[in-house]
Amino acid sequence: MDRMVPVPSNAIVPERDLGRPPILETHHLGIDFGGLTAVDELSLTVGRTEIAGLIGPNGAGKTTVFNLLTNVYQPTRGAIMLDGKSTAKKTTAQVNRMGIARTFQNIRLFSNMSVLDNVKVGLHNSIHQNLAASVTHLFGYKKSEKKSREEALELLSFFHMEDLANKRAGSLPYGAQRRLEIVRALATHPGIILLDEPAAGMNPSETAELMENIRKIRDTFQIAVMLIEHDMNLVMNICEGICVLDHGKVIAKGTPEEIKSNPVVIEAYLGKKKGADEECSE
């Protein structure tokens, strides 16, 4: 089936992003696996510097959405516009180059490579080094390697990780691996970064630090952040717009205050309350 013609969606973006076209839009996005509809009718808009949240009970299709946005899965229906351009028929690598980067729920670093090399892989497309330079280590090899090293160290210093540069990525403690995954994603110079459960396995003080870091990423790089997270404290604290998924469908969209008090969301998370109907009609 052909993709639908994109139509402007009426989703809310933060006021400061109103004058600029959104970084990410999806229009009636959906995917079927065999007979199972995993995601359906997903339309959302993320502003240029918005921190957006994607929440929902387990199995709601949140990671599937991330896989759709990065073209790991090809959508069955609908369209994705990244920075105003359709990502249809693009490969994952091409979509990344168009400005979307992500981290994974279960950390997927290149664990046998050094911390620095992990970041350098992220810089792959912004550092130019031709094949001749790669093979002979001449023809501008030194210059390009120096540039990529400097840029990688600068990114690492953002998370105070420059001292770990020569360690093997797989040997880092858990929290540092999570941070490195974010640095590696940032190295691809994205317009939007997708974080899949960034606070999973973190203690409250690490989570508090992560919240600061996410804000810092947005402020420093002036990019959008979209995160999947089960830690409601984190989501409600830093997200400006939240989209709630259940069984692959959007059940609510809005600011944290609107989501907190939305009876449909409470029902999806906690099950139907006795007398919920009366509350709804109020």
Binding site: N96, V135, H137
Partner: protein, 293 residues
Amino acid sequence: MTFISNLINGISLGSVYAIIALGYTMVYGIAKMLNFAHGDVIMVGAYISFCVTTYLGFSPFVSVVISMIVCTILGIVIERLAYKPLRKASSLAVLITAIGVSYFLQNAALLIWGSAPKTFTSIVPFGSIALFNGQLIITAESIVTVLACILIMIALTLFTRKSKMGKGMRAVSEDKAAAELMGINVNVSISVTFAIGSALAAIAGVLLCSAYPVLIPTTGSMPGIKAFTAAVFGGIGSIPGAMLGGVLLGIIEIFSKSYISTNLSDAIVFAVLIIVLLIKPTGLLGKKITEKV
């Protein structure tokens, strides 16, 4: 003196195995497939070099360069036509295709060059070196082979560890999906791997036929199998492992030939492989595979 002479011959033969094994191990590391047609690329490389020197009259050095170019193109074409359409197929389908490509190359060579053995002229223009009053004779081919092997090893290590493209290839070999999300074109990485492997196969073919000058369409199969064994022996997927496995295998083969039995030498080589794999299933330098829980 016989011992030293055997050792040198072993290292020299092992160096050829090592160069071939690099092709197996790199392709396995990146594309997670066993390219059984690799041995036959060696044979094609040797035939090209033979034709360029014999029929076109170019110098041996030019013939090696032309042979490398032809094999590089051949490697990329094989990957594009035979393996790329099977990127998502089961590994068994890819394996059988690889065997098919192997037979295709052998029979194509049979059609083009016929079944009569060709006598390969060594590309090394120097004679042997006699030491200790002629008690120890080292052939120039051995020296060139070992030097070529060392040079290739250094160049390849620098390439994969220090260059942008090499890092991209290592990233693909560790986690293809994550590498794609870093904007790395996996198809390009795989093509470059096949190109490097096939260029090395051309060098190996020329060196092998310089030392053992009989060239027939199946010349590449046995060294191909041995080199595959060497790659597994050293730990498949590991570049230093391929090197170590190749050299050890060469030494074991020559020593069994001279001290035990010529007929049994191949059996001994493969028996050693089985023993190593029983004790250390990942091979000598193979990495432990960590399963995600």
